[in-house]
Each structure stands twice: as structure tokens, then as C-alpha cells.
């Protein structure tokens, strides 16, 4: 198989292997590569070449999606370093974090019961702001302190927040309809 299949995602986009990423550059490089390998470029090419284009374009999109989102980027960086984030198996969390989770879940349930879009949007902003804080902590943990086990805990926390932010978003959407 050619080198692009064994390269890691960062190398594919000629980007440094770290958490704090120039997202505009990532997007530009993805678009430049996607433009080269997209199956539409091979609309009149032989079958074998079209299949290859489909395969490469799929991988390029997968790489872009992985690096674009902070949580999957962190997860991927940790996996490259051989650290498993144990998101499915390890559910132990500090007590204060769990308390905050419970408060948010209650707030979400109340706002849903009251069909209160304002309250839902406020909750969504609050969670998003906490997510930004976790991302800052990830930059510190991965890029500067190389504390990968600590970073794995942050990824697990981010996963919790992502889930409740998604639920809040779904509740807002449900009220819009």
C-alpha cells in the first residue's frame, strides 16, 4: 500500500503532531488534498483507479474529521502514544465533577419540562464554556506537560460534557419543531 495509508493523520496534512492546531490551516490543507483525490476527479477513469480514489478520499475525510474536533483529536494523539482513554470502561470521576453533572442533568430536565428555550440555551452556553476550559487544559497537558494519563481523564470528562451538550441541543431542536 502507498505511504499515505501508513502515515498518521497529522503527517497527511503536513501538520505538527500536537493538540493546539492551526484549524484554518488544517481546513485549507484538507480541501487542497480532497480536491486532488475526490472520486469526481476520476469520473472517467478506469474502475481500479476510481476505487482507489474512493478509498483515499474516504481516509482523507476520516483524518480531517478526527483532527477537526478537539475530543477526537485528543483521543487520536493519545492513541498514537499508546494511551487508551478508557471511555467505555473507566467511569470513575471526582465527586465535584459528578455533582456538577447531576446539577446540569436536573437543569436540563427542568427546562425540558417547562419548554424553556432560554434556559436550555443558557445551559448549552455554560457547558460549552466548560468544554473550552477542558480544551485549554488538554493543550497544557498534552503539548506542554506531556501528562498523557491526566489528559486521558480530561478526554473522559469532555466525553461527559459532549453528551449532555448534545442532549441539550436535541432538546432545543425538539422545541423548535
Amino acid at each position: 500500500m502507498n505511504s499515505d495509508f501508513t502515515q498518521d493523520y497529522f503527517a497527511l496534512f503536513a501538520l505538527p503532531q500536537r493538540f493546539a492546531l492551526d484549524l484554518a490551516l488544517l481546513e485549507r490543507n484538507w480541501r487542497a488534498i480532497a480536491a486532488e483525490v475526490h472520486p469526481d476527479r476520476f469520473a472517467s477513469a478506469p474502475d481500479a483507479e476510481r476505487r482507489r480514489a474512493l478509498m483515499v478520499a474516504t481516509r482523507v475525510n476520516e483524518a480531517y474529521q478526527t483532527l477537526k474536533k478537539p475530543i477526537s483529536r485528543a483521543r487520536y494523539l493519545l492513541s498514537l502514544a499508546g494511551v487508551d482513554t478508557q471511555e467505555e470502561t473507566n467511569t470513575s470521576m471526582p465527586a465535584d465533577f459528578l455533582m456538577l453533572q447531576m446539577e446540569w442533568h436536573e437543569a436540563l430536565a427542568d427546562a425540558k419540562a417547562d419548554s424553556d428555550i432560554e434556559a436550555l440555551e443558557k445551559l448549552s452556553r455554560e457547558i460549552q464554556s466548560d468544554m473550552r476550559e477542558l480544551e485549554t487544559a488538554l493543550t497544557q497537558g498534552i503539548d506542554h506537560e506531556h501528562d498523557l494519563e491526566g489528559a486521558a481523564v480530561l478526554v473522559r470528562k469532555l466525553r461527559f460534557l459532549e453528551k449532555i451538550e448534545q442532549d441539550t441541543g436535541d432538546a432545543i431542536e425538539a422545541l423548535l419543531y
Binding site: M1, N2, L25, H38, A48, T58, E173
Partner: protein, 619 residues
């Protein structure tokens, strides 16, 4: 199967040769075909100068069929055999059609997709659509004076896998080579985007007779990227007619009308709606079957009031699409309007207000989709070298599988850029289990019952192991057309599990070839000669591609590799000279194999080239 112009053996096709490619808007009510001529996209009219082909097919007792305006004229006289709005039946079973009882057809409840009993036998919606597409193909070939290289066919963005597959099958049946299925809002954006040579994020609002389709697209230096798409499959211009109809009933104190009077007033309602697009009020007059005369005036303001909730409802999918794209209405650089219903001033006003700017309406909303498709077809056929651009589309609906308790687990979320693939691992739950069934679904809802079933995939040949020991990796691939394929492999043994697809949709290859053989056109065609012609076209096109590649990137091969490719090239030429179909196909396959590594090195090089000139951060 590509139908390219055949060049003389030994000569490669001239690089500037213009390939005939068209864009087809296969609509519910009307269909159109367009092409790019001298750099401008134009709709191709029929011999009478009519651009719109009514999407109506009438089957006659002698096995013949009539398509378009002549079929439409007989609609009320011969309702059983005159099929209108067949697009609504594509990839659908009888139970999907809520209004089936009120339609005049003799439906057959065939598994997967319904059929309709006509004078010329049972017809599937795919065959009916193929008649429309064939009419447009013949129109285009007569107008352009040659066989078509290929076509881009548009589909609503919310079309699911079954509907897309059915559309592609219809095109094959009509003798068209499908370069791409293109989402209608995306086609409209292309028509506008290239016209106005603009950059930024655009919204497309496509309100047809029965459906609403919205998309958010980002245009950057030659790339159209669809960020999100949404819609409402049961909201369209017809609903506005219905509101006027209800207003007429209320104003005139009518109730319990017979079917003729209902049809009469619905027609008057539609006329009034169209009149209000140009005037401040509309007069509605009618004489009912009992002799009662109606004479009413509907003012623009009243019309606004009675349709306000509908208009607001059309903006909801727009909000959803903006949310998915994670941008605000204020960030939108322009709003493209598509579909006849967007001629309503109230719609234009509401959309304008929502985005804080007047929408773009300078292209004919009936033609804009076909024009965009033609522009894309022109690029895909390779007529636009140098001034190239690319389209990155998304999957409109989430793809999932059934898990315990009738719940759906999402595997590929909606609005993911295509092509995309995701793999999921499964295991066995019984000792010695050698088969398992996977139910694939499309939709956003949590319950399996609320999503559309794409099919059940039965995996067999799993090596017997203790429960939970087998690791079966199933990969789901969605290609650029939005079509799904599934692969499976057992990881501990490396056994490729075979997949039996029991389709809930679509036609098997056997079905298609049976229909092709049955259709009049192809019976007269000499199958052997056709196969030889296709083999030569394939071989020729591969040689062209290879030679062009050798010219630009020949340095990527060492002498041995180069000699091998040259030997294969000569073998293909020799086989073409002999004129043996099988020999040509074998030689083509050998050349394909010999250029495999070469093609992959070239792709590497192109990727590296693509990144040059960018501000690459320090490693």
C-alpha cells in the same frame, strides 16, 4: 460503463475533444435537460420549443408509451394507465404511500418497491422514470447531434439510499451513464455560485410542489462544500393552495363538496396564488355543479395571514441546517431561491427577513437545478481542464444499525462529508454461532420502527468459536453519490464473512438486464457488437489515461516497470486490432493491474503537490 468517443486505434483521443454531457432535473411535476454549450449552461427544448417535460407517462394497450404533455392531456380520460408524480413512488413500498387509496392506480404490493398495473403490464416506478429519462436523452442527442458521454441527475437532498438507488437504476435502464447523482439544492448553488463568481457561505431554499429542501454551502476557491442539509418531505406549494381552498370554503360557507367541485376550487386556489405573485389581489370566480356562483377577492394581506404558519414552518428546517452547520443567519453571504413556489412574494419576504437580506432570484427557479447539473456534468466529463472546481457533499440522513430492544445505534451521523466509511466490531453471543444478521437503517429517530430500513445483511461463514470470541468487523461505505455498500471480515481468523443482502429496495443486476432486454431499443441492438464496442471504448480510455500519465509522471517508474507497462499497452492495441471482445477485456485487465502501483504513486505525488504553496507550520 463509460461511453466515450472512440478514437482510431493507436491514436489517443484529442485532448480538446468536447464530450457530450447533460444535467437532468428529474422532477415530480416536470423534468428538464440542460447542457453547457460554448461555456454557457442552457436548457434544451423539445422540437416545439418547450423546455419543461411534464413528468407524466401513459401506457397504451399496444405496449407503446407516451411521455410528457401528450400523456398529461389524457390524464383524466385514462387515469389507470397515466402515471403522474412517479418520483413519489421511487424506492417506496405500498405501505409508505399514505394517500394510495385516493390515487387512481392499480397498485401491486411488490416487496421493496410497489408496482402499478397498466395496459402494458406491471410497471415499477423505476421503469416509469426511465421512460422520462429516455425521452430527455433522445431530446438531448437530437439537439447535440451525438451519443451522450454521461449525465448528472439531480435528486432531493433528503432522498434516502433506496430512492437514490432507484434513480440510478432508472438512468441505467434509460441507457444513460450516470456521472453523478447530485443534490438539487447543491445544483442550484452551483448555477448561482459560478454565475456570480462569489466566495462565502450560502443558503439554498428549495420549495417545490410537495417538498422543502434546504442546504448550507461554503464556497472557497474552486470548492463547493456542503455544510449541512435539512428539509420537510411533506411541505410544499400545494399546502398553500390548500389554505386558499379552505379560505374559499369559509368565505362562501361551503362544506361537503363533491370531488369535481373540490378539484375545481383547488385549481382556482392555485391560479389565485400564482396571480398574487404579480398582483396585490386576486379575484376568484367559479360556478359549482349545483349552479351556485362564487365571486371572491383574495387580498395579498389576507393571503399572508392565512399562510403565515406555513411560511414560519418552512423556516424551521433552515434553523436546523444553520444549527448543524454551526453558523448564524447573519453569516450567510447570499440566499438562493429554487422551485416555483418561491415566486410567492410572501416567501421571498419571510426568507429575506430571516437572513436580513433580499434573496437571489435572478435565475429562473424552474430551471436553476438543471443548469447547475449541466455545469457539474461538463466538469465531470472532463471538458473543463484548468478551470476546475470540486463539490464536497454530505450524507443527509444518519446511518445506523439495530441494537437490542428495537433501538437504533448511529454509525455515520448526518451531514458527514462524503465519501465516508465507518467500521464497527460485533461478536457472537452463542457458542459455535456461524451466522449473524445486521439490520441497517437510515434516519434520525431512536426507535427502529421510526427509521427507514435499508436492508438486512446476513453474515455467514463465521468460524465456530465460544461466545464472544469472534470479532467481526463490518465496514459501511457511503460513496460520493450517497450510496451505501457493506463489507465484513472476521478478525481473529481473517475469514472474509460472506454477506447476503436481502434488499428492501432497488433492483438486482439481473432485474436490470432483464428489463434492458425487454425494452424495444435493445432487442434490435446486436448484443455481441455492443459488447465489443464497450470493450474497445474501455480499453481505449484506459490507454489514453495511461499515456497521459506516462507523459506527466513517467519518472515515477523504473526501467523494468516502464517496460512492463509498455508491453501491456502494446498487448491491448494488438487485441483491439484482432477485434476479440474477450482478448480485449483480458488485455485491459492486465494493463489495469500493471499500472496499479503507478497510479498510487501518482496520487501520492498529487497530494504532495496540493500541499505545496501552503503555509506549512513547522514540524
Amino acid at each position: 460503463m463509460a461511453l466515450l468517443q472512440i478514437a482510431e486505434p493507436g491514436l489517443s483521443a484529442a485532448p480538446h475533444q468536447h464530450r457530450l454531457a447533460v444535467g437532468i432535473d428529474l422532477g415530480t411535476t416536470n423534468s428538464l435537460v440542460a447542457t453547457v454549450r460554448s461555456g454557457t449552461a442552457t436548457v434544451l427544448p423539445d422540437a416545439h420549443g418547450r423546455s419543461l417535460l411534464p413528468s407524466v407517462v401513459r401506457y397504451l394497450s399496444d405496449g407503446q408509451s407516451v411521455v410528457g404533455i401528450d400523456a398529461q392531456a389524457e390524464q383524466s380520460r385514462d387515469p389507470h394507465n397515466t402515471i403522474v408524480s412517479t418520483k413519489r413512488f421511487m424506492g417506496r413500498s405500498l405501505s409508505d404511500i399514505a394517500e394510495a387509496a385516493s390515487l387512481p392506480y392499480r397498485f401491486i404490493d411488490t416487496p421493496g418497491m410497489l408496482q402499478i398495473q397498466t395496459h402494458s403490464g406491471a410497471k415499477s416506478p423505476v421503469e416509469v422514470s426511465a421512460e422520462i429519462l429516455k425521452t430527455l436523452r433522445l431530446r438531448a442527442e437530437a439537439s447535440l447531434g451525438g451519443e451522450l458521454t454521461g449525465a448528472v441527475i439531480t435528486v432531493p437532498a433528503y432522498f434516502d439510499d433506496a430512492q437514490r438507488q432507484a434513480t440510478k437504476d432508472a438512468a441505467r435502464l434509460a441507457g444513460l451513464h450516470v456521472l453523478r447523482l447530485l443534490n438539487e439544492p447543491t445544483a442550484a448553488a452551483i448555477a448561482y455560485g459560478l454565475d456570480n463568481a462569489s466566495e462565502g457561505t450560502y443558503a439554498v431554499y428549495d420549495l417545490g410542489g410537495g417538498t422543502l429542501d434546504v442546504s448550507i454551502l461554503k464556497l472557497t476557491r474552486g470548492v463547493f462544500e456542503v455544510l449541512s442539509t435539512s428539509g420537510d418531505a411533506a411541505l410544499g406549494g400545494d399546502d398553500f393552495d390548500h389554505r386558499i381552498y379552505c379560505w374559499i370554503l369559509a368565505e362562501a360557507g361551503l362544506s361537503g363538496l363533491n370531488p369535481q367541485d373540490t378539484r375545481l376550487l383547488l385549481t382556482r386556489a392555485r391560479e389565485a396564488k400564482e396571480h398574487l405573485s404579480e398582483h396585490n389581489d386576486a379575484r376568484i370566480t367559479a360556478i359549482l355543479s349545483d349552479g351556485q356562483a362564487l365571486d371572491l377577492v383574495l387580498a395579498q394581506d389576507t393571503f399572508h395571514n392565512i399562510t403565515r404558519t406555513l411560511i414560519d414552518k418552512t423556516l424551521l428546517p433552515m434553523r436546523k441546517a444553520l444549527r448543524d452547520a454551526r453558523i448564524a443567519a447573519a453569516d450567510i453571504a447570499g440566499v438562493v431561491m429554487v422551485g416555483g413556489a418561491t415566486r410567492m412574494p410572501a416567501i421571498q419576504q419571510a426568507v429575506g427577513q430571516f437572513f436580513g437580506q433580499p434573496p437571489l432570484t435572478n435565475l429562473d427557479p424552474d430551471k436553476v437545478v438543471a443548469l447547475g447539473a449541466a455545469i457539474q456534468a461538463n466538469v465531470l466529463a472532463g471538458n473543463k481542464a484548468g478551470d476546475d472546481w470540486l463539490l464536497l457533499d454530505v450524507n443527509p440522513l444518519s446511518l445506523g444499525i439495530e441494537t437490542m430492544g428495537g433501538l437504533t445505534e448511529k454509525i455515520i451521523p448526518r451531514n458527514t462529508t462524503l465519501p465516508v466509511a465507518r467500521a464497527q466490531e460485533f461478536t457472537t453471543f452463542k457458542d459455535g454461532q456461524t451466522a449473524m444478521s445486521i439490520h441497517v437503517l437510515q434516519g434520525e429517530r431512536e426507535l427502529v420502527a421510526d427509521c427507514r430500513s435499508l436492508g438486512r445483511f446476513v453474515l455467514t461463514g463465521i468460524p465456530p468459536m465460544v461466545a464472544g470470541a469472534a470479532r467481526i468487523r463490518i465496514s459501511f461505505q457511503i460513496d460520493a453519490d450517497g450510496l451505501l455498500s457493506v463489507f465484513a471480515r472476521e478478525l481473529t481468523s481473517g475469514v472474509e464473512a460472506s454477506i447476503t443482502i436481502k434488499p428492501s429496495y432497488g433492483l438486482s443486476d439481473d432485474d436490470i438486464s432483464r428489463m434492458l432486454t425487454e425494452s424495444m431499443d435493445h432487442v434490435q441492438d446486436d448484443i455481441q457488437a455492443r459488447k465489443l464496442r464497450e470493450a474497445i471504448v474501455d480499453a481505449q480510455s484506459l490507454m489514453d489515461v495511461t499515456r497521459t500519465a506516462l507523459e506527466s509522471d513517467g519518472d515515477l517508474l523504473d526501467n523494468t516497470e516502464r517496460a512492463q507497462v509498455d508491453t501491456c499497452l502494446n498487448a491491448v492495441e494488438g487485441a483491439i486490432a484482432l477485434g476479440h471482445t474477450r482478448a480485449i477485456n483480458e488485455a485491459t485487465a492486465a494493463l489495469n493491474h500493471a499500472t496499479d502501483t503507478f497510479a498510487s504513486r501518482r496520487m501520492d505525488r498529487n497530494i504532495r503537490r496540493a500541499l505545496k504553496g501552503h503555509n506549512i507550520a513547522e514540524l
